[in-house]
Each structure stands twice: as C-alpha cells, then as structure tokens.
C-alpha cells in the first residue's frame, strides 16, 4: 500500500509537470539535469547486477549463486525499465520521445544510450524468461492452488513447456549464449551512460576514468541491492532453507571486494584533479570536499563504501541482518553519489554565471521532482514485489538440479 501511495503521489506530480511544463521543477538553464538524471544513472547502475550474478558468476562456474539469479534478474529488468521511463519524464514532452529514434545523431552518446538500453532490456527480459519456463510448468502442475487469472497467465507464458530433453537442451544453450552476450552489453550500457558526462567538457566530468568508475560503482550498488532483496525475500517468504547464511557470507565478501574496487576508482577520480587543482576544477572540488556539497559527499562516501566495508569485513557482519543493513547503506549512499556526479558540476560552469536570476545559481529539487523520483523508485520496487507474488523468486528447477548435482558429487 505504501508503494502504491508513493506511486500515486508521483503520478499526480507528473500530471502537474505535464500540464505546467518543466517549469514546475527546480531545473533551470545551468542545472538542466537534476534528480531525474541522478535517478536514471542510479537505475542503470542497479540494473547491472543481472549481468554480475547471472552471467559473470554462471560463466565462472560459481554455483552457490543459483538461488539468487532470479532476484538479480528481476531487479535488472525493473531497474532498466524505470531508467528508460525516467528519461521520458526528464524530457518534459513525452510525445517527442520518438524524435530520439527518428532524428537521433549517430555521433551522440545519447543515441548510443538509447540503443544500448533497449538492447539490454530485451536481453535481460530473455534471461529472466527462459529459466522461468520449467518453473511455470511446475506451477501449472499445481494450478488448483491459484486463481483463474494466474493460471491463464501461466498458460499464456509457458503452457508449451513439456520438460522435453530437446527443450532443456535449447534452453540451456540459449541461457549460455545470453550469459555471454549480456556482459559486453552491460558494460556498454554503463560505459555509455558515463560518456554522457565524460564526453562533455566540464569540471568534474572531464575524465578518462569515468567508464571504469561508473561500472565499478554500478556493480557495488547492484550487489548491495541484492543483499537487501535477499534479506527481505528470505524473511518475508521464509526462504531460510534456500537463501542461507552462507549466501549472505559470500555476497558480503563480494560487496567488500566491489566497495574496495569502487574506492580505488574514487581515489583516482578525485586525487588526480585535486593534486593539480586547475582553476576550473578547484571550485568544483572545494565544493565537494569542504563546501556546500561536503555533507552529502562525505555521507555518500562513508555510507556507500567505508561503513559497509567495515561491517562486512567481519564474519559476524556478514550474517543476514548486518549484511542487510550494509546493503541498505550501499544503496542509499550510491543514490546520493549519483546526485553528486550530476548536479555540482552543472553549478560550476567554466564561464561564470552572469546576468541570470538568483534561482539559476542554486538547485534544490521541487516537490514534484522529489515525488516523481521517489514514485519511480517505489514503482520499481512494486514491479519486483508483483513479480515475487506471481512467480517463484527462487528458480525451483535450477536449484533442484543444482542440489542434485552437489549431492551426487558428494557421494
């Protein structure tokens, strides 16, 4: 109900924005990318977790992550859907969205982003759907437990799955191909998103480090979100048997590794320009380290990296509840980190702001922006919640197969 209410308030705010135009936001000539774009970068980042858990771990023959693959995939699909939608919100005139396809310049990273996001969406959807087919077949075997409309949905989606060996062979091969294909596309999606900034000559964005910096941050927030989702699904659906303490322990270690990696890229990103302190960068960096953005900056650094590392470094910290807290910190800190990537740079242009109204010099999102941004986050969670209500959040068939293989191996 809370999520639905937040979505409705967001929808009301969006209707107001459609009616009155982007003037209802606090975005003006200088800060033309506000929290909508921060939210977009955040969603794109979170969506990368699908490729990490499903593809990278699958291809490296890591089997313990099997029960987590569906959680990761639905997070990826939901996040990438709302990444695309929030861009339409940011455009202000949704009916002109097709202009991106009709009149896009191939030289523009924005066009590349449109291509890569739609490709990643389709691949993630396939990676979610194909392994779901055997599970839909299991659900249909117990169709008397479900209402008619759910049975109709299951039949529509997978009544053709007959557990035939030929079907399994094709599905396994297809999932293998998808796992390989999704990695370059996932890297592209976040690299291209970073290029939206890095190909623009501005203080804070003029960096060759941006692609790797964004990808490492994306893996971190994605892994953090999986920790959160694991805990919620485990406690809510009583899945202690499938999502075990060992999963939290291993995911915790992955989060520590990714947080250290992201910390390394952060040091690269800030130390090098801070060492040179070029005049144009000085104002931007001072604003982040000790100026008006310092409280958010240090909050983001500590909550997304230092505190989670500190919690998860210890074995006791990798137990479900502390790991869940660390995951929440990573997710919240990472959202603010995206805000800091977008806004402070826009407030520090190379040419001094001259002869502009006072509200052009500052940016604090309007209530409509907050409502839409929070509404979109709530809607993404709502999609995940609906999915978990309709389909098994643990891949039943794969997990059974996995445990059978493990028990055979131990015999």
């Amino acid at each position: 109900m809370v999520l639905v209410s937040l979505c409705l308030v967001g929808l009301a705010a969006y209707i107001r924005q459609l009616y009155y135009g982007l003037g209802v936001t606090a975005m003006r000539d200088y800060v033309s990318w506000g929290i909508y774009i921060s939210n977009f970068v955040f969603f794109v980042a979170i969506s990368l977790v699908g490729s990490l858990i499903t593809a990278v771990l699958r291809l490296t023959d890591v089997h313990w992550s099997t029960p987590l693959t569906r959680i990761a995939e639905i997070i990826a699909v939901s996040a990438i859907t709302f990444a695309a939608l929030i861009i339409i919100v940011d455009m202000g005139r949704p009916e002109r969205f097709y202009h991106l396809f009709m009149y896009g310049r191939l030289q523009s990273p924005i066009t590349w982003d449109v291509i890569v996001i739609s490709t990643y969406f389709v691949i993630s959807l396939l990676l979610l759907y194909l392994p779901l087919l055997p599970d839909i077949s299991i659900l249909l075997q117990h169709q008397e437990q479900y209402p008619k409309w759910m049975v109709k949905l299951y039949k529509g989606m997978g009544s053709f799955w007959k557990n035939a060996p030929a079907q399994f062979a094709i599905m396994n091969r297809s999932v293998g191909i998808l796992s390989v294909a999704i990695i370059p596309v996932a890297f592209s999606i976040h690299t291209v998103t970073s290029w939206l900034f890095a190909t623009t000559y501005r203080p804070g964005w003029d960096s060759t480090n941006f692609g790797a910096y964004f990808i490492s941050g994306a893996f971190l927030v994605g892994a953090g979100s999986v920790l959160v989702a694991m805990y919620i699904f485990r406690t809510h659906y009583k899945l202690e048997k499938y999502i075990t303490e060992s999963h939290f322990d291993k995911m915790g270690k992955i989060v520590v590794l990714l947080a250290l990696l992201y910390l390394y890229f952060n040091i690269n990103e800030f130390l090098v320009p801070a060492f040179k302190m070029k005049k144009s960068e000085e104002e931007h960096l001072t604003g982040l380290f000790a100026g008006e953005f310092a409280p958010i900056f240090w909050f983001a650094i500590f909550t997304s990296m230092f505190i989670p590392i500190f919690i998860l470094l210890f074995k006791r910290g990798r137990r479900p509840f502390p790991a869940f807290i660390a995951g929440i910190l990573v997710v919240i800190g990472s959202w603010f980190k995206r805000y800091l990537i977008v806004t402070p740079t826009l407030l520090h242009p190379f040419m001094p702001m001259h002869d502009v109204p006072a509200n052009y010099r500052v940016y604090f999102p309007s209530w409509e922006e907050w409502a839409i941004a929070i509404g979109s986050l709530a809607a993404a969670l709502l999609v995940i919640t609906f999915f978990a209500r309709l389909f098994p959040i643990i891949p039943i068939h794969e997990t059974i197969e996995e445990s059978e293989t493990t028990s055979h191996a131990s015999l």
Partner: protein, 289 residues
C-alpha cells in the same frame, strides 16, 4: 479510507500552497525611449524592494501609451516583462499618425495590480530627433544630431555622442577622443584610427554614432557601412563534411560501420535466441499432440 484522505491532503495542500494570501508590494516603473537606425522603441523596467534592495519584477504585463496633441492617450501595445523585469515595444505603424504629428513625444507605461504587486506607472517625454552619420574625405566620421521643433529640424548643441564601430557585444570607439559634445551645428567629427580591425569578407565595418540616456532625446543609435576594416578569413566550412560534430546523417563512415555492425551483431544474437524460443514452443506443441 485513511490512506485516501492522506493522499488527497498531500495533493490539495500542494495545489493551494501557492494560493495563500500575501501582502502586496509596490512596483517602481521606468520607461525609456530609444531610436535604433531611426526605428523608435520603448523599454520599460519594473523593480520592487525586497529586503531593502531593488530587485527586478518579471512576468508583469506593461501597457504602453502615447499622448496625442489633445492630451488623450493612444494605446501602442503591451509586452510582458522578462526575467530582468524588462519589456520592449517598437512603436507600431498604427501609431504613426500621432507619432509624426508631434515634435515632443510623451509616453506612458502602466502595469495592472495583481495578487503580489500594486499597479505601477511611469512616463517619459522626449524631443523627436534624428541622428545622421556619414563619412568625410579620408577615414573621418561625422555625426549630426537634429531635433524637431515647430518650425522643422534644427541642430542640437551640447549632447554627448560617441563615434565607434559596431562589434559583437558593444561599440568600439574609433579613437581615444571618440566621445564628445555636439557643436552648434549638432555635429561631432572624429578620425578613424584603428588599424586592421577585422570586418566581413570584404572588410566592411559598421560605423556607429550613439547617444545614451540623454534627458532631451533619449537613447539614439545610427550606423552606416564603411570599407575600412581588414577582410576576415573565415575557417573552412565543414557543414557538409562527415565529422563527429556534424549534423544528423553526416556521421563519419567509420563510425557508421562500427556502430551498425555492433548493433547488427548483438541484435543478430537476440533474433537467433528468439528463433530458439520459437523452436522450444514448437517442440512443446508437437509433444502435446
């Protein structure tokens, strides 16, 4: 039910926040008269005191009037104030009869009262004038200021006038003493002393005479083209080239090959997988039969 009430409360409070009653502020309205290349126009500026400081008032609609010979007002037009609290109106053709019939022009601007501000008004009276700029032998500029009285056009003495060259963001004086007062013939002359100032392709510059905020004639600017500059050499036009910074459809061939082949490869895989899905469906259907 309580949840719906909460949503309704949030929505309504947001809508009505902006409608709360506020104390009205007074508006100071100023109007100035300008002539550019003999085209007259009016500029109105609205300001109000905020925390003891005068700040521009954007958004107000200024209505402009001219007084005719009998002292009645004739409506010229209206224009909204921009973010600097300024609005501009060219004297329309419909007002030419009133405009031409008088030597002294008396204008008025008014803004209506609204929820935030009281009504405001401002007036300005100027003498109708002409500023003529020409060249003399050699590189010498001469400007003449004439004002209209009941008998005709007469020279006006003692008005500060600048001779310069029009550049992108202002006027560049033609020499170090380019600003001077008009003499008894209403004239100011000056030698053009700038070497190799870039003009257009043929070296054409616009020589300008300018009077700013004079109490009698307002602000006037007039110009003529002179071939006294150095021909400018423009960088080759890349508009039709295939470059990374070109327009749509003009991207470099290497980029098109690279991008389209990558898209084709990835979407080829996606299409292959969709075909595989179709195979799975077919196998399922045949197994069911």
């Amino acid at each position: 039910m309580r949840l719906y009430n909460l949503i309704a409360l949030i929505l309504f409070s947001s809508v009505f926040t902006g409608l709360q009653a506020q104390e009205k502020s007074s508006v100071t309205l100023r109007i100035n008269y300008y002539t550019h290349q003999n085209l007259p126009y009016l500029v109105a500026k609205a300001k109000t005191k905020i925390n003891g400081k005068l700040s521009p008032v954007p958004g107000l609609v200024a209505k402009y009037y001219i007084y005719n010979a009998t002292g009645d007002t004739v409506f010229l037009g209206s224009a909204a104030m921009d973010f600097k609290g300024e609005s501009l109106l060219y004297v329309p053709a419909s007002a030419q009869a009133v405009f031409q019939s008088q030597a002294s022009l008396h204008f008025m601007v008014v803004t209506a009262s609204n929820k935030q501000y009281d009504e405001g008004s401002g007036e300005v009276t100027v003498q109708k004038s002409k500023l003529i700029i020409d060249t003399l032998d050699g590189r010498k500029a001469v400007a003449t200021l004439l004002v209209k009285n009941d008998t005709g056009w007469i020279p006006m003495k003692g008005v500060e006038l600048t001779l310069g060259v029009q550049r992108l963001d202002g006027i560049l004086p033609i020499n170090s003493t380019a600003t001077a007062s008009t003499d008894s013939l209403g004239m100011v002359t000056g030698d053009y002393a700038i070497e190799n100032l870039p003009g257009d392709k043929k070296g054409i510059l616009t020589l300008v005479a300018s009077i700013k905020d004079n109490e009698v004639v307002g602000s006037i600017e007039s110009g003529i083209n002179v071939p006294w500059g150095a021909p400018a050499h423009f960088i080759t036009n890349h508009f039709f080239d295939r470059t990374l910074f070109a327009r749509r459809g003009q991207s470099p061939i290497w980029l098109e090959i690279l991008a389209y082949s990558m898209v084709a490869m990835v979407w080829g895989v996606v299409i292959y997988l969709l075909v595989q899905l179709r195979k799975i469906i077919r196998i399922g259907k045949s197994a069911a039969v």
